[in-house]
């Protein structure tokens, strides 16, 4: 897969605060790259620079369209900003046509596509309504339509799930997957790591403007030696021997169930064998830790802090 976007040593400071500090990554054509990090990590600033809305202090942003290296072609890119908003006193259809026209789509074509998308999102009855008459969820859908109406090759989605209820989150999730199936490249910025894990094969983690981890999700998890082991057992059994084992740290213990983290030198199989030898078991599961844990641990291992209290 060739790269559609290359970001190299990108930096941006606002006064004394460095919002983005020498980040580099590539986005492969047809891929969904997840840019993850807590609020204030620098994701939005990075995307704004990629979109040409902010000027970088340093670094390089290159797009590759039609086999050619190009600095920027806004008509080929769709953008869903984190701070969402549309003209509340304008009609839905007029707004969509205007925004598509700014991306270079002929008005007639934009009108046809807009009506098609409004129908698909069950908003066709609202096409002649002013946006202020629509619910927040509906407005978000309209904004989503505005992002892809001009059939972009690359779509930048900045926190697309924020403010959505679980049902609408699923709709948008399915839609992002459909975009990828149709060959659209997606740069997805989000702080909900579980959703990113479900959607992305490659991720770029960022904290306090600095890169934390970057690469295929499976590789990142593989490199992370830690395992989360969940054991269910009859209530009369005593699992306390586990606590003395090297590399075991307890996460949760309750009657008939224990969850622990294993980072010891022995293979997981050996630990499981020891477990079956020592006590009767009902169920056992071994998981790689979620992305969220990997992120927090990597940041802490490097002496950093996660400033967003909701993220920890």
């Amino acid at each position: 897969m060739d790269n559609v976007l290359t970001v190299k040593d990108l930096s941006k400071a606002f006064g004394e605060i460095t919002a983005v500090d020498r980040i580099s990554f590539d986005v492969k054509r047809g891929d969904i790259l997840g840019m993850v990090g807590p609020n204030g990590a620098g994701k939005t600033t990075a995307i704004r620079m990629i979109m040409g809305i902010l000027t970088p202090d340093e670094g390089e942003i290159r797009f590759h369209f039609n086999g050619k290296d190009t600095a920027m072609d806004k008509s080929r890119i769709g953008y869903l900003p984190e701070d969402r908003g549309l003209y509340d006193d304008a009609k839905v259809l007029d707004t969509l046509i205007y925004l598509a026209a700014l991306k270079g789509t002929p008005r007639k074509e934009a009108r046809y596509s807009a009506l098609k998308w409004l129908e698909r999102f069950d908003l066709i009855d609202y096409s002649r309504q002013k946006l202020e008459k629509l619910s927040k969820g509906m407005q978000q859908k309209v904004q989503f339509i505005a992002t892809i109406l001009h059939r972009p090759e690359v779509v930048m989605l900045d926190e697309p799930f924020s403010g959505l209820d679980p049902i609408n989150q699923d709709i948008i999730k399915a839609f992002i997957q459909e975009l990828q199936q149709n060959g659209t490249t997606v740069l997805l910025s989000a702080h909900q790591m579980n959703l990113v894990e479900e959607l992305c094969e490659n991720i770029f983690m960022i904290n306090q403007g600095r890169p934390v981890l970057y690469g295929p999700l499976t590789e990142i998890k593989k490199q992370h030696r830690e395992q989360i082991i969940v054991v269910r057992f009859p209530e009369q059994e005593d699992p306390s021997f586990l606590k003395k084992k090297d590399g075991v740290s307890l996460i949760k213990e309750e009657p008939g169930r224990i969850v622990f983290r294993y980072t010891g030198a022995k293979a997981v199989n050996e630990i499981l064998n020891e477990l079956t030898a020592e006590m009767a078991l009902e169920e056992i599961s071994v998981q790689k830790p979620p992305l969220h844990d990997i992120f927090i641990q990597t940041v802490r291992k490097r002496g950093g802090i996660v400033e967003d209290p909701h993220f920890i």
Binding site: K74, D83, R84, L102
Partner: protein
């Protein structure tokens, strides 16, 4: 800064024009003002007409026993009805009670010699004295001249009026358009700044507040957005002013007796250019200031200050018109924010030399380009600052950054 694309500017301009032309604020401002103009013009015309047509019943107590006939001669064709009375001053109150007189004029030799005649009225506000004064003056002049021994033909010759006919050394007659076109352009500029300028500024603040601006900037550059807005709101101003001019013209044609005049390109194009570039320059200030604001409420103070910019030359109108060719006036006319109104004002008051029209226009075009450039820089640098308004420090930092 990237070179702006005309098609993107036009797309924004079209959107702003179509959207705002239907806005209630624009409709109220556009149609309410002509309505007020029509009402005011109609009212003043009708009241003046009514005053001229007012019938005055005047009693004359003529102690000279001669002046009444002069008054009667001069009252032909006027709305003054004269009645001769014989009554003393003490009886005047009774005369008023028994008759429907608007006033009693007491004429005596001494009064005519001194030039002061006494007019007794019940309430001075009920009587339009302008018509009466002309009648009494004319009668008194004729009376005095006859007293001096002049015959009626000599009196007619002596009292014939003289008109001043003005023309230049080349024989051209002064044209009302030379005064009216720059005055109209100047007034149009001030109205456009007051009305459309504030809609533009509040539009920018609103786009910033509802975050739509970020979406726009992901499609076009800040300079294209700024120029599109200025063009759109400029178009809006032209529509508005066009409607006002049309209504104004209809009112003038209906109520005022103006000499017919032909407009030449030389009379129209220079004022039009000063209007267009002046509007561009001041609009870019409005947009840039709007971009630094967080809330619309904060904009009202700034709006007042910006509106003052084109009005400063108006406050200095008297010295500017008294000395239109003075050195300080020429220098003042080249100071960027004041150029359009100062020059339009002077154009109405005198004939500016061609070199000065070119030099002020060049200064205006250059400064407009600079204002738009710096306006776009401020717009670009502060429009995404959602959490707080941008201050001088932020603007300074913008220009300090390489």
């Amino acid at each position: 800064m990237k070179i702006p694309t005309l098609s993107n500017i036009l797309k924004v301009a079209r959107w702003e024009l179509v959207r705002n032309i239907k806005s209630p604020l624009f409709l109220v401002l556009t149609f309410l003002i002509p309505l007020v103009m029509v009402i005011v013009a109609g009212f003043s015309f009708l009241s003046e007409h009514a005053a001229q047509q007012q019938e005055i019943n005047l009693a004359v107590a003529d102690r000279t026993e001669q002046f009444m006939s002069y008054l009667e001669n001069h009252s032909e064709g006027t709305q003054v009805n004269l009645t001769s009375i014989v009554a003393k001053w003490e009886e005047f109150e009774q005369v008023f009670q028994e008759n429907d007189f608007d006033g009693i004029l007491e004429v005596d030799k001494e009064g005519l010699e001194k030039g002061i005649l006494l007019l007794y009225v019940e309430d001075p506000r009920d009587l339009n004295q302008a018509n009466l004064r002309g009648l009494v003056n004319n009668a008194a002049s004729t009376f005095r001249m006859e007293e001096m021994g002049l015959d009626p033909r000599e009196i007619e010759t002596a009292t014939a009026t003289v008109d001043l006919k003005t023309q230049t050394l080349t024989g051209e007659e002064p044209q009302i358009a030379d005064l009216l076109v720059p005055a109209a352009a100047g007034m149009a500029l001030i109205f456009a700044v007051i009305f459309s300028g504030q809609i533009l500024m509040y539009g920018v603040i609103k786009e910033k507040r509802n975050r739509v601006v970020e979406l726009l900037l992901s499609s076009i550059s800040s300079l294209e957005l700024l120029l599109g807005k200025i063009a759109g709101f400029g178009g809006l101003s032209l529509c508005q002013i066009g409607i006002w001019l049309m209504v104004g013209l209809l009112v003038v044609i209906a109520f005022v007796d103006l000499p017919a005049t032909d407009l030449s390109a030389g009379q129209v194009i220079p004022p039009l250019l000063f209007f267009i570039f002046g509007l561009l320059m001041i609009s870019s200030i409005f947009a840039a200031v709007g971009a630094t604001m967080k809330e619309a409420e904060a904009g009202s103070q700034a709006q007042g200050l910006i509106i003052l910019v084109p009005m400063v030359p108006l406050f200095m109108a008297t010295p500017l018109l008294m000395n239109p060719d003075a050195t300080w006036v020429r220098i003042f006319s080249h100071i960027p924010p004041f150029i359009p109104t100062a020059v339009l004002l002077r154009m109405g008051g005198t004939t500016l030399p061609a070199w000065e029209i070119f030099s002020t226009l060049a200064a205006l075009i250059l400064s407009t380009a600079l204002f738009v450039y710096f306006g776009a820089k401020i717009f670009e640098g502060t429009i995404l600052q959602y959490d707080r308004p941008a201050g001088w420090k932020d603007v300074k930092a913008l220009f300090a950054k390489k």
